[in-house]
């Protein structure tokens, strides 16, 4: 089987804007699902609300498109109700870290056997570009017209501190690495959190000096550094490049997990 067979052909092309990174993340996730060899009947995709959260609607399996921020709460119910199901959550930065922030930390604490893929475009894409908890300092959005004055959440650090068993970050440029990370996440029992930084040309890029789709992707390509390399640089007292996006595997461990199929 190929990953293309997991798409609902009748629903394509999807509604995402030209050059939106969400479509790439769906490709990578489905490729990982396909490599896992899961059956369509045994797999469920759950999401909240947002552009990113529309992803399950383009996939042939059963899915739940739930209320804003509650994807993890619904997914917890699905997984505990039927631990035989493979449950994958698609969510956005707003969905996961703003309105759904509390569900996020508690799902990580409980370490429920889910794979959570967060498409982080650092903005509320669907509602027209309001700032989110991951909007970088200085970035423009409709709610931060003079540049965001707040420090942003690091979702990976958050997931790690809250107790997730597997945490990693890649971007929509790093398709092979992202696919491998999602695959490893799916193989790891407990909560696996994969953050995929994505370009949102319409609501983020346009306002933040990325005039073309390729400009923002090029930025992600050239500003990502492996987390291991950053640690090494820190030990040797070297200065980090600025800005820098740490990518790679943040943690893989074996804390007690909930809802693991026995």
């Amino acid at each position: 089987m190929t990953y293309q067979e997991w798409f609902r052909e009748d629903r394509l092309p999807h509604i995402y804007c030209t050059g939106c990174g969400n479509g790439t993340v769906i490709n990578c996730t489905l490729m990982a699902v396909d490599e896992m060899g899961w059956k369509k009947e045994d797999t469920a995709f759950i999401s909240g609300i947002g552009c990113s959260s529309r992803a399950p609607g383009y996939i042939v399996t059963d899915s739940l498109h739930t209320t804003h921020g509650r994807a993890l709460a619904f997914a917890t119910g699905v997984k505990l109700g039927n631990p035989d199901l493979h449950v994958v959550v698609f969510t956005g930065d707003g969905d996961l870290a703003a309105i759904g922030g509390n569900h996020f930390i508690h799902a990580c604490r409980r370490n429920i056997d889910l794979t959570v893929v967060c498409m982080n475009n650092q903005i509320y894409g669907m509602t027209g570009g309001q700032g989110s908890p991951t909007t970088p300092m200085g970035a423009l959005s409709t709610t931060t017209p003079y540049g965001s004055a707040e420090p942003a959440f690091d979702l990976c650090e958050l997931a790690m501190a809250a107790g997730a068993n597997y945490v990693s970050r890649w971007t929509s440029y790093h398709v092979k690495e992202l696919t491998r990370a999602v695959l490893t996440g799916m193989q790891t029992p407990g909560l696996s959190f994969i953050e995929a930084l994505v370009q949102c040309p319409t609501n983020y890029g346009r306002r933040n000096k990325f005039k073309q789709v390729l400009d923002q992707v090029e930025f992600m390509r050239s500003h990502t550094v492996l987390i291991q390399k950053l640690k090494r640089m820190e030990e040797q007292g070297e200065k980090f490049p600025d800005p820098v996006i740490p990518v790679g595997e943040f943690v893989r461990r074996n804390r007690p997990a909930l809802g693991v199929k026995v």
Binding site: Y16, C17, T24, N27, S172, V175, L214
Partner: protein, 90 residues
Amino acid sequence: MKLVIDERRCKGCNLCTLVCPYRIFRPGKTPNRKGTIIPELDRPERCTNCRLRHLYGRTLCGMCQMICPDQAIRWEEEKPNEPHKVAIEY
């Protein structure tokens, strides 16, 4: 095999032009019927996947297909004696 861009799906973002090691994709120039400017293919028979997919029995490289956010890139079997016949060695 030959490389095709599905015009019904491509939205013209040009992400494929960024990833192909052979630079097979080039930004297009003329809008199609829908007003989308589809990338042009520069000698697509050079693509590793076109040449060696059957030999290896799996997708090789495939970067363009993976990054395409609109699932518009795929490979098709060629009909016999098609003008753009792909040779195994290039």
